[in-house]
Symmetry: C2
Subunit: 408 residues, 2 copies
């Protein structure tokens, strides 16, 4: 965790324990720091798992293995290494992951493929196997910890620990979701985002959990961007222990399926927003809503072009209602748009409608809105019914300071 906390930070919520889920943290010493950097979460037998992963083709061994592992749908443990991403480390990196899987599987008496491993940090340095072995041993011997400790331990350049919860009534039982996430840079859509973990006591078939997680990710994690960069490691996993006692949800028609899906999307959205709120150097949280596009997918692409534009992001940092830069970003998105139907606003006040600056445009309420921390940009393309909201943060001196002096 960094010293200077993001001005957009949220306090860590009161997250309940989830039946069948036991987190622990320990020191592996992946970097020369005096903090816990290995998180171990034990999961009861019978836990279902689903996952979505980075699309970066230079992904880590953890991601390659994880993609295979979720196909079997079963999990008994999660290990998260912080400080070393183990990406671009070839066979040595893969051996380190397999060592961790084997060590935990030996302890639990399970199949190594039921042990999920994530790593985050610098790229290109193989995870040191001796430190990993000792760290895992320490974690297996440690007392259980709370969610906030786990959320802190998976963090790297994060400035505050991030968690979220939701509940749903499924088949007459209250099921609970508790979730943690890390990430503040190298954040861009297409599941190239962060390390996020959702734990629930709901009984749900892994195939259907996968379907719901992929859909939720598309509307949450894949709609945020900090810097358009796409990590080689990042991963969101959902674990369901099934201990809430509900009849297992197998498909969309099952009792409570919709309620669970809504709760899952809710925690995913909370987690995604928290990552943006900890965007490197972020001073403002920006929601970009695009309507009137030819499709929802097109609206999302236009929204991301705006949210990724350095000129838009610096304008917001400067509290400047520079809607001309929004016009530019719409135009470069490569999606259908018509300059003469385009409307642009900030904070619910239109600056330009149908291709022309408003004659009676009053900048005062817009200027007041831009002085706040939560900014909205509205774009109406005037072409169809497509709609999407994406979230980002502003681009500030803080981003440069953090990233021009990150390694070593």
């Amino acid at each position: 965790m960094s010293d200077a906390v993001s001005p957009l930070a949220s306090p860590f919520p009161a997250l309940p324990a989830i039946a069948g889920v036991t987190p622990r943290v320990a020191r592996a010493g992946y970097k020369d720091w005096g903090r816990c950097d290995l998180t171990y979460v034990e999961l009861a037998a019978g836990t279902a798992v689903a996952g979505v992963f980075t699309r970066n083709v230079c992904c880590s061994s953890e991601v390659e293995l994880g993609r295979e592992q979720v196909k079997a749908g079963k999990a008994r443990a999660l290990v998260v290494n912080a400080g070393n991403s183990n990406a671009f480390t070839g066979y040595r990196g893969r051996e380190a992951v397999e060592q961790i899987m084997a060590q935990v599987a030996g302890h639990l008496g399970c199949d190594p493929r039921e042990v999920f491993v994530s790593s985050t940090g610098v790229i290109g340095v193989p995870l040191p196997r001796d430190k990993a072995r000792e760290g895992v041993a320490n974690a297996l011997a440690a007392a259980p910890c709370g969610w906030e400790d786990a959320a802190r331990t998976i963090g790297t350049t994060d400035t505050f620990p991030k968690g979220a919860m939701a509940q749903a009534v499924v088949d007459g039982r209250t099921v609970t979701l508790a979730a943690i996430i890390k990430g503040s840079g190298m954040i861009a859509p297409d599941m190239a985002t962060m390390l996020g973990y959702v734990f629930t006591d709901c009984a749900i078939a892994p195939g259907y959990l996968q379907e719901l997680l992929a859909a939720a990710a598309d509307r949450t994690f894949n709609c945020i961007t900090v810097d358009s960069d796409t990590s080689t490691s990042d991963t969101v996993l959902a674990f369901a222990t099934g201990q809430a006692g509900n009849q297992r949800i197998n498909c969309g028609g099952c009792p409570g399926a919709d309620a669970f899906a809504a709760a899952l999307e809710d925690v995913c959205r909370q987690l995604a927003h928290l990552v943006v709120r900890d965007g490197e150097g972020a001073q403002k949280f920006i929601a970009v809503t695009v309507s009137g596009a030819v499709s929802d997918a097109s609206a999302r692409k236009v929204g991301l072009a705006i949210a990724n534009s350095p000129l838009v992001k610096t304008a917001i940092a400067g509290e400047d209602a520079n809607w001309g830069r929004v016009v530019m970003a719409v135009g470069k998105a490569g999606e259908p748009a018509d300059r003469d139907r385009l409307s642009i606003g900030f904070g619910g006040v239109w600056c330009a409608r149908e291709g022309l600056p408003l004659a009676d445009y009053d900048e005062a309420p817009v200027a007041a809105h831009l002085k706040g921390q939560d900014i909205s940009i509205e774009v109406d393309l005037g072409l169809g019914d497509g709609r999407a909201t994406v979230w980002t943060c502003d681009l500030t001196h803080g981003y440069i300071s953090i990233n021009a002096d990150y390694r070593s």
Copy 2:
């Protein structure tokens, strides 16, 4: 022109006069500044013209009109307004451009469609017609000026005037190309770059000039990026007065066609590099060379993904040989790549070969290279023969300072 000159600035070269080309500058007062902001270049009767334009779909009226005008291939004058881009200003913006075209055509006794207009500056404010009328009148009455004055007058956030020249022997005659350009932000490929003008005395058919300019732009202007943002206005025009006395070049088989093409690409590359050297906040000039791609086009896309990555650009700003961020950028490009064949180097020294950090990697020469102003990044994908070089600059506090406080 800004006060603080880019540390990467080049002195303005000695540019020769071009027969049939007469530049003048004047004050229109588009902004409240004490400088010339209207450039007028008169072209002899019989001048051929070609142009490449932004692909931003929210382009300005100047771009819309210019695209139509180049089809006829004839030009008699160029007017460039600085301080107001006249983009996203609807019919009022278009009327302002048509007024300028008519005013100049009336003076020259030519077709208004032979008068080319460009505008650069803030988006969304219609070009004031009274100021334009007076500015053009002032320019028509002004004494001819040198290229450096013209280059300064087309500039906005530029920190130094930019010019380039080349010569070629065509059909036994020496033909000369003199060129000026402006641009330092909102620079990204796909001809969404800047305002650039090439003037030559070569006799060449407009259709073939268009072909050569488009090809040269693809290897020069479309291979640079400052911030991935794509302007709504930007334009490169080439004017050929035909007064060098060579037999007109009509196609690739004509005498001197190859020599002229090489000279044209040479000035375009010089101009493109100058824009990067004035990239907003730039402290370092970065050449990214990608080899071993499945095609040249694929190599260029991978190169641009690296050159547009904020994390790569901030690493270079921090003089950090963080090749892991280059791996990340290769992986997010969406082009064929194989982590285990990938090699990455800086300044001609490999850091990683075929998917693994080099065991005997000596960071000292790389660190020394990164302390310089001219940085090279080499990437070998190990897949095929595709190759491309793209150019960018680093991302620094200067970019944030300039862009978080740009609009009045």
